[in-house]
C-alpha cells in the first residue's frame, strides 16, 4: 500500500483503482450504475420474445396506421404530415389525419430514424418502429429510478426501476412490434409526474417549465393527457384540503398551467379544447381559484381585519353570482364542449353498453376482473397497499402526490382493462416504497454487529408469521425489526423470494400472453409447428393484383392493416370517427345480397374482405363479431333488427339459424364453397371448427360478387363486386 500523497502518487493503476473502489461512496455508485444498466438491458430484452419467435413485424391493428403515418412523415416531411388529408380511408369522406392524430409517436420514431441514419447506422424504418417501444420502456425504468429517488431515496429508486422494467401491465402495450401511442405515452406520463413532483419540491420556475415540456410530449402522444391535467389540479386541491399548501405549489402549478396550456394547444388535435372543453375544466378552474386565493392572502396582509372581512363578503357574493351566470351562459349558448362518451364511461361503467355500442364492442374497454390484477401486477397487488401505508405514515409532498395518483389510477383501472396500463406505474412506485423500506429496516441491524444469539424459538416465530404481519409489528421505520439476526434474515429471504417469483411470473406472462403479433399465427409444437401467415398473404395479394384505385370494404378492425399493407382505399377503418359510415357497412354485411349490392354500389366498393376462422379454428373472425355489426348497424338503421338474427335468443349459423342469418351477406361471403369441405374427420361436410357444428346453409350462391381470393387456410376471403348487368 503506497503512502497517501495528494497529487503525485507512486501507486500503480491497480492500486489506485482498488483504493477508489474501497471507498463506500464509490462502491455504492458502482453498484447503482451496474444495477441500472442491467435493468435497462432487462427492460429492453424481455420485450423481444415475438421478434425472436416470429420476425421483426408490426403487431395488431392500430400500429399499422402509426407505421403508415411515420412513413408519410419521413418521406413527405413535417409540413406535409401536419396538413395531411388522407383520401385512402373512409371512402368517400377521407380523413383529416393532420388534425385527428396524436403525432408524438410518429415524430419520435422519425427522429430516431434520422438520428440513426445520421450516425450511419442505417436501420430500416420498420425496425425503428418495431423497437421504439422496448427502447422507451428502458427509458421509463430510468425515470422510475429518478422518481423513486425524488420520492424517498436512491434505494427506492432502484427497486422502482427494477419493478417497472418488467411489470406485465406495462409490457402488454410495449412489446417489440407494438408501435402504439402507449409505447411513448407511458414514458411521457411517468416523466411528467416525476418532473411535477420535482417542481413542487424545488419550487423553481425552471423545473415547472421542464414539467410543462414533458406535459407537451404527453399531450402530443396520447389522449390520456386529460388524466394528467385532472390529476395535478386534484393534487393541488388535496394539498389545500389537508392543510399542506405552500407557495412552492403555487409557483409550480401556475407556471405549469401557463406554459403547459399553450404548449399543449399547439397539437392540432387538442387545439381549443384545452380552454373550452369540460374535460379540462378542473385544470383551468384550479388555476383561477389559486389566483383568487393568493390575491386574498395578499390583501389580508395589507388590510385590517374588519376591512378584510367586508372585502371577503363583497368578493364572495360578486364572484359567486358572476361565476354562475358565466357558466350558465356558456353552457346554454353551447360554447363549452360537452363531455365525450368515452369520458362518461369512466364515471359510469354501464354508460357505453347502453348508449354507444361501438365503444362497448372494443375488447379493451371491458371491465377489469380480479384475475387481470393478479396477472398484470402479481406481487405488486400486495406490496402496493403496503406502500400506501408507508406513504400515509410519513407524508411528504411527493408521497401525497403518489397517493392521489395511485387511488385515482386504481379506480379507473377497475373500469377498463386498457387503463391497467396507467395503474401499473402507480403500483410500481408504491411497491418500491414498501419493499425498499422493508429491506432497509431488515438490513439495518445486519450491518452492525449482531447483539444477541438468534434464539431458535424467536426465529421460528418470526419466520412463521406472514410477511405483512411482521411488517406491521414494527414501530417507526428506522427501528429495525428485532435486534436478533434471525428474523431480519428471514424477512430478507421472504422479500427475495417474492421478488424472484415476481420476475419469473412477469417473464412467463410476457412470453405466453403478450408477445403474439396477431398478424402471424402459430399452431402446433415442435415438428408439427405450423405458421399461418394468411393476413399478409391476402393483403399483399390485394397490393399486387388489384387496380390501384380499388376500394375495399371490410369490417373496421382491418382498415388500418389494409391501407398499410395492401395499399388500397378502405371504406371504414379503426379510427371509428364516423359511426354512421360504420353502421352503413354493418348494414351491408347484415343484409341479403341484393340489398347489400345496392349499398356497395353506393359506396363504390370493388372488393369485399371478410375474415373467416371456420377452416383453421381462428376464433376472432367476422362471424363471431357479427352481432356487433348488427348492433352498430341497427343503432343507426332500424331496419336491421338484432332479433332477426337470433333463433330463440341463440346466435347460431347452424341449421337452426334464422333465414335472415343464413342469407345475409356476411354468412354467404364466409361460407361460400365451404359446404363441400370436410374439415374434421368423423364430422359431416361444412363443419365449422370455431363454432363446432355444421353450418345451416351449405349451398351458397352468389349473384353480385364472385370469389377473387381465399388465403391458404381460408382465413381471409376477398370477393370482387360485379358490375351492373348488361341491359339485354
Amino acid at each position: 500500500m503506497s503512502s497517501p500523497e495528494p497529487y503525485v502518487s507512486s501507486a500503480s493503476m491497480v492500486e489506485t483503482a482498488w483504493r477508489y473502489l474501497n471507498r463506500t461512496k464509490s462502491q455504492e455508485l458502482l453498484i447503482r450504475s451496474t444495477c441500472l444498466i442491467f435493468i435497462y438491458l432487462l427492460a429492453f430484452s424481455v420485450r423481444l420474445f415475438s421478434v425472436l419467435r416470429y420476425e421483426s413485424v408490426i403487431h395488431e391493428f392500430d400500429p399499422y396506421f402509426n407505421y403508415r403515418s411515420t412513413i408519410a412523415l419521413v418521406q413527405d416531411g413535417w409540413y406535409e404530415f401536419w396538413n395531411w388529408f388522407d383520401s385512402e380511408s373512409w371512402h368517400p369522406l377521407g380523413r383529416v389525419v393532420g388534425g385527428t392524430v396524436y403525432p408524438g409517436l410518429m415524430f419520435t420514431a422519425a427522429i430516431l430514424y434520422r438520428i440513426s441514419n445520421f450516425l450511419t447506422a442505417c436501420i430500416k424504418l420498420r425496425d425503428i418502429c418495431v423497437f421504439t417501444a422496448p427502447f422507451f420502456s428502458g427509458n421509463t425504468a430510468m425515470i422510475a429510478y429518478l422518481f423513486g429517488k425524488e420520492l424517498k431515496d436512491p434505494e427506492t429508486g432502484l427497486v422502482a426501476a427494477a419493478l417497472m422494467a418488467i411489470v406485465p401491465g406495462y409490457i402488454s402495450r410495449s412489446v417489440a412490434g407494438s408501435f402504439d401511442n402507449e409505447a411513448v405515452a407511458i414514458f411521457a406520463l411517468v416523466t411528467t409526474f416525476y418532473l411535477w413532483v420535482r417542481a413542487v419540491n424545488q419550487g423553481t420556475v425552471a423545473s415547472a417549465v421542464l414539467a410543462a415540456f414533458a406535459y407537451l410530449y404527453m399531450a402530443a402522444s396520447w389522449g390520456a393527457y386529460v388524466f394528467i391535467s385532472n390529476l395535478i389540479p386534484l393534487y393541488v386541491i388535496v394539498m389545500f384540503v389537508s392543510g399542506r399548501y405552500h407557495r412552492k405549489i403555487y409557483v409550480a402549478y401556475t407556471t405549469f398551467w401557463a406554459v403547459g396550456s399553450i404548449l399543449a394547444m399547439q397539437v392540432r388535435f387538442i387545439g381549443f379544447n384545452h380552454v373550452v372543453s369540460n374535460e379540462l375544466f378542473a385544470f383551468n378552474g384550479v388555476f383561477v381559484a389559486l389566483q383568487a386565493w393568493e390575491g386574498l392572502v395578499f390583501l389580508r396582509t395589507k388590510l385590517g381585519s374588519r376591512q378584510f372581512g367586508q372585502l371577503v363578503y363583497l368578493v364572495a357574493v360578486g364572484a359567486a353570482s358572476t361565476g354562475a351566470a358565466a357558466v350558465a351562459f356558456l353552457t346554454l349558448s353551447g360554447k363549452l364542449n360537452p363531455w365525450t362518451g368515452r369520458f362518461w364511461t369512466l364515471l359510469d361503467p354501464t354508460y357505453a353498453k347502453k348508449f354507444i355500442p361501438i365503444v362497448a364492442s372494443v375488447s379493451e374497454h371491458q371491465p377489469t376482473t380480479w384475475a387481470s390484477y393478479m396477472f398484470d401486477l402479481h406481487m405488486l397487488v400486495f406490496a402496493g397497499p403496503a406502500g400506501l401505508y408507508y406513504c400515509f405514515k410519513k407524508p411528504t409532498d411527493g408521497t401525497i402526490f403518489l397517493i392521489t395518483f395511485a387511488l385515482t389510477a386504481i379506480y379507473f383501472s377497475g373500469i377498463m382493462v386498457r387503463l391497467m396500463l396507467v395503474a401499473a406505474p402507480a403500483f410500481v412506485l408504491l411497491s418500491a416504497i414498501s419493499i425498499s423500506s422493508t429491506l432497509q429496516a431488515a438490513t439495518k441491524e445486519l450491518r452492525t454487529a449482531p447483539t444477541g444469539d438468534s434464539a431458535a424459538s424467536a426465529a421460528a416465530d418470526a419466520s412463521a408469521a406472514p410477511k405483512k404481519r411482521a411488517i406491521s409489528k414494527r414501530g417507526p421505520e428506522e427501528a429495525p425489526l428485532t435486534s436478533k439476526r434471525g428474523p431480519n434474515i428471514a424477512v430478507l429471504l421472504m422479500v427475495g423470494f417474492a421478488m424472484t417469483s415476481y420476475a419469473g411470473h412477469c417473464i412467463w406472462v410476457t412470453s405466453e400472453a403478450y408477445s403474439s403479433p396477431s398478424i402471424v399465427l402459430i399452431s402446433g409444437w415442435g415438428p408439427h409447428r405450423h405458421v399461418l401467415d394468411d393476413f399478409r398473404e391476402a393483403y399483399y395479394w390485394l397490393r399486387h393484383n388489384t387496380a390501384p384505385q380499388s376500394k375495399v370494404m371490410s369490417w373496421w378492425d382491418y382498415g388500418y392493416q389494409i391501407t398499410a399493407m395492401g395499399n388500397r382505399t378502405v371504406i371504414v377503418d379503426n379510427n371509428t370517427w364516423n359511426n354512421t359510415h360504420i353502421a352503413t357497412v354493418g348494414r351491408a354485411m347484415a343484409s341479403n345480397e341484393t340489398e347489400a349490392f345496392k349499398i356497395m354500389r353506393q359506396l363504390d366498393v370493388d372488393y369485399a374482405l371478410v375474415i373467416f376462422g371456420g377452416m383453421s379454428g381462428y376464433s376472432s373472425d367476422d362471424i363471431n363479431k357479427f352481432l356487433w355489426m348488427v348492433r352498430i348497424g341497427g343503432g343507426v338503421f332500424p331496419v336491421v333488427k338484432e332479433s332477426d338474427y337470433l333463433a330463440n335468443g341463440d346466435y347460431t349459423v347452424s341449421s337452426k339459424g334464422t333465414p335472415t342469418m343464413l342469407n345475409c351477406l356476411m354468412y354467404k361471403l364466409c361460407y361460400y364453397d365451404f359446404g363441400q369441405i370436410m374439415t374434421e374427420q368423423g364430422k359431416g361436410t361444412g363443419y365449422d371448427r370455431v363454432r363446432n357444428y355444421e353450418i345451416g346453409n351449405k349451398d351458397v350462391k352468389l349473384d353480385h360478387l364472385y370469389e377473387a381470393f381465399t388465403s391458404e387456410h381460408w382465413i381471409v376471403r376477398i370477393y370482387r363486386v360485379k358490375d351492373l348487368e348488361n341491359r339485354f
Partner: protein, 108 residues
Amino acid sequence: MLGDIVKAFSDEYKKTPVRVKVIDAFLVYALATAAVQFAYMMLVGTFPFNAFLAGFLSCVGFFVLTVCLRMQVDPTNKDFSGISPERAFADYCLANLVLHLVVWNYMG
C-alpha cells in the same frame, strides 16, 4: 364600505419598497392588457380564436410568471429560502422566453 377598504389598502401599500412597486405596476399593466383584449373579443367576435387565445394567454402567462418572481424575491417568504434572487430572475427570463416563443407560434 368600499371606500374604507380602499383607504386601508393604500395606506398599507405605501410601505412596500419601490422595487416591489415596480413589479406590481407591471402586473397591473399585464392585467389591463388582458382585459382590453377580452373586451375587444367580446365586441368583435372570436375569429380567429387562436390569435385571441395566444394574446390573452400571453398576458395571463407573464402576469403569473411575474407574480412567481415577486414571491421568490421577497425575503420574508420562507418557502423559497434556497433560491437566490438572481436564480429567480434567470428562471423568469427563461420561462418568458419559452412562453412568448410558443405564443408567437400560435398566433398564426
